[in-house]
């Protein structure tokens, strides 16, 4: 019917963040070798222990690559990546910035285009921002305000200089360098990222936020984020990402590690809008990311909220290791695949301690030729007496060329545990669309309304400004997608 063509037109909307910033950058030769790892480490003037850690990771990665251990179990298809045909480091020239005034104005304009004013406007919204451009963190706002509370929020490189003992203690403690293929790669070549440390008993007075931007061509981005929440502290952390439109695929292999001690809580939210490729599936970011949090302390809590609308391919399973007694893990996810995007995403909840609880709410939306899988593991260990998990996975299909798949894995080794799993798959009903249209609402608005309604449980977990942004993003990502 005419619906199909209209819907198709609707989703043809272009990616709004696809510009390239003309900025002078410093890169090192293409390819990956021990030498390259040494150069990166030297450029960052890193201590010996870190270089050694990187080298161990590099050798592990090289071995995995040689033995063909690149993971193939995910439901994603992509041509073989040539890890030698890529730049592993790119930094805007001009380093060591004392204040925002010294940041290349061209770079600041980029952030403005992205809607991220790095200036005092942030005081109004109360968000402290760290911005990572290609490989290097360029500016962190609100440092002083945070320092008053003893909070450390800075780029990873700076953290290595400022508080090496903290970094050394926790780096790799949740995601070891040899954890998986992409984590090993990241550990070898990670260039920058964000670091946050919340001292004992401190409730972080503002949202911490990092924006990641890939600008340079043929460059991989490998950032590393580490957040440590001491006893009784609380932090909410937001992460956003965009990249220019390019015909070739670019690799993004990040690692995020969270550590929560007794009674601490970390809320980690992501709005991921990497360039998804064009309508024919050309270009786009390969987003191969390892995110994991460890609830080390008793009654600690880690919650992941993600809205994934970008990337050509998403391979991502933000997980929780529930080690402390009575600790809580949450995963709230909206993933949207349109055109030829593919996503294999989900979570792992590893219950180790007694009385641990986890909740998984996953909402998958597929449109166009999008393919999407939910893959989630719930493991209840032998000592996890009285552990509970509740999982809910809902998929929404728009049109008949897309797909949604659910792969739940359950391993229960303690008979006192309670594990619940619910899954639904529905099509955006023609009846629902017609109902809205009969009330004068355009098809486009109706789709956006229905999709946002479908995701509501997850969106309401996001901080206010982010929720609004995420809603708009969902609408935009779907424009022209339904058929």
């Amino acid at each position: 019917m005419s619906n199909a063509t209209e819907l198709a037109e609707l989703t043809e909307r272009e990616y709004a963040y696809g510009f390239v910033t003309d900025i002078e950058s410093e890169t090192i030769p293409k390819g990956l070798s021990e030498e390259i790892v040494r150069i990166i480490s030297a450029k960052k003037e890193e201590p010996r222990w870190l270089l050694e850690w990187r080298l161990k990771a590099y050798h592990r990665f090289a071995k995995m690559l040689e033995e063909g251990h690149e993971p193939t179990w995910a439901m994603i298809r992509y041509p073989t990546i040539d890890y030698q045909d890529m730049y592993y480091f790119s930094a805007p020239k001009k380093k060591q910035l004392g204040s925002l005034d010294e940041v290349d104005p061209e770079l600041l304009r980029t952030y403005e285009k992205l809607g991220i004013p790095l200036d005092e406007q942030k005081r109004l919204t109360g968000v402290a921002v760290d911005a990572v451009f290609d490989s290097v963190s360029v500016a962190t706002t609100y440092k002083e305000e945070l320092e008053k509370h003893g909070i450390i929020f800075c780029s990873f490189s700076e953290a290595v200089r400022r508080c090496p003992e903290l970094v050394r203690k926790y780096l790799g403690s949740v995601v070891p360098y040899g954890d998986n293929f992409f984590a090993a790669l990241n550990s070898a070549v990670f260039s920058d990222g964000s670091f946050a440390y919340i001292p004992k008993g401190v409730r972080c007075p503002m949202e911490l936020s990092t924006y990641f931007r890939i600008n340079a061509q043929e460059t991989g981005q490998f950032e590393r984020t580490l957040i440590v929440a001491e006893e009784g502290s609380y932090v909410s952390y937001l992460e956003g990402c965009t990249a220019p439109m390019r015909d070739e695929n670019q690799l993004h292999a990040a690692v995020v590690e969270l550590v929560a001690l007794d009674d601490a809580e970390i809320k980690y939210s992501t709005v991921q809008n990497w360039y998804p490729g064009d309508k024919q599936g050309k270009g786009g970011i390969y987003n191969f990311v390892t995110k994991r949090g460890k609830c080390l302390g008793r009654r600690s809590k880690i919650s992941w909220t993600q809205v994934e609308t970008g990337s050509a391919i998403t391979w991502k399973y933000p997980s929780c290791i529930l080690q402390g007694e009575g600790s809580v893990g949450e995963f709230h996810s909206v993933a949207l695949t349109n055109n030829y995007q593919q996503a294999d995403t989900g979570t792992k909840m590893i219950h180790i301690g007694a009385g641990t609880k986890s909740t998984i709410i996953s909402k998958g939306i597929s449109a166009g030729h999008g393919q999407q899988s939910y893959r989630g593991l719930v493991r209840i260990g032998p000592k996890a007496v009285g552990a509970r998990n509740y999982s809910q996975c809902d998929s929404l299909l728009l049109g008949d060329k897309c797909g949604a798949h659910t792969f739940p894995y359950l391993e229960v080794k303690n008979s006192t545990a309670t594990v619940e799993h619910e899954a639904t798959t529905s099509k955006i009903g023609e009846d629902q669309l017609f109902y809205c249209q009969q009330r004068g609402i355009s098809e486009e608005d109706a789709i956006s309304m229905i999709v946002n309604g479908f995701c509501k449980e997850v969106l309401r977990e996001l901080p206010m400004e982010f929720a609004v942004e995420a809603q708009k993003l969902l609408g935009m990502s779907l424009e022209g997608s339904v058929g």
């Binding site: 005419s2 669309l433 017609f434 809205c436 009330r439 004068g440 309304m449 946002n452 309604g453």
Partner: protein
């Protein structure tokens, strides 16, 4: 207002309407009755432009404009309202939010200013009273967990709010008890006026005790078999539809206007 000429229509692949002629003038209330499967709901769907229903011959003129090929939202904005027999649930979309979006879409089409949250709230509260819609219904997702009666009242609430010019009620009385029926009829009657027309589709005469029609038509096998005034509905109630098959040929001729 509405002029249907020799309308033939399909639902999916099945030919359902086989030559309907019907004229509804401004201010008139027409009742469409008939047995199950006679094409009543198909007629409502075709008028509203529901996907999956197609006109194969004839035409539908609304204010002299042929509706063929006009999108459903355009029809709605031009004042055609369908009160659904089975209002669909839309999880996560708040009823209040939906009604406001709907009203503002229609208002901006009419060249009127969109209502802000405060004005909308005042207006919707006033209409809610008319059909006894409880406050909490507005905060729930559209139709989700609504009882049958709540769904139907919500439909009439929307109609009161949007002030359409052609109201089509598709078996709004089905599944309602007497009290709910009266409430709904009160809402509908409040809308009657010289510039507004109603097409009331129903199985039963009891709704027509409350919403008194100017004309009554009986649909049978995709055609209007019989038309008359309100007394026809009473007669049907007594005799049932079986009687239609044996009706004198003269009665059918009278049906065509």
């Amino acid at each position: 207002m509405l002029e249907i000429k020799n309308l033939h229509a399909k639902a999916g692949e099945a030919a359902i309407l086989k030559g309907i002629d019907l004229t509804i003038r401004p201010g008139e209330v027409h009742a469409m009755m008939g047995p199950n499967g006679s094409g009543k709901s198909t007629l409502a769907s075709v008028l509203a432009g529901r996907p999956g229903y197609s006109v194969t011959a004839g035409e539908i003129l609304y204010d002299g404009r042929d509706l063929t090929g006009i999108e459903p939202e355009e029809r709605a904005r031009e004042g055609i309202f369908l009160a659904f027999q089975y209002p669909v649930e839309i999880p996560g979309v708040g009823n209040h939010y939906f009604l406001k979006a709907s009203l503002n879409a229609i208002r901006s089409h009419r060249g009127e200013e969109e209502l802000d949250a405060i004005d909308f709230l005042a207006l919707v509260r006033e209409k809610m009273k008319m059909v006894e819609v409880p406050e909490d219904l507005m905060n729930r997702s559209i139709n989700q967990g609504f009882s049958g009666g709540e769904k139907k009242r919500n439909e009439i609430l929307q109609m009161l709010l949007l002030e359409p010019r052609l109201c089509i009620l598709d078996e709004t009385d089905s599944g309602l008890d007497i009290d709910a029926l009266r409430v709904i009829a009160t809402g509908v009657n409040a809308l009657r006026g010289p510039q507004r027309s109603l097409l009331v589709i129903t199985h039963y005469q009891r709704l027509l005790d409350h919403i008194v029609p100017d004309r009554v038509h009986v649909l049978s096998e995709g055609r209007i078999a019989l038309s008359g005034d309100k007394s026809l509905a009473v007669e049907l109630e007594k005799k049932g539809y079986g009687w239609l098959e044996t009706a004198p040929p003269g009665a059918e001729a009278a049906a065509v206007q």
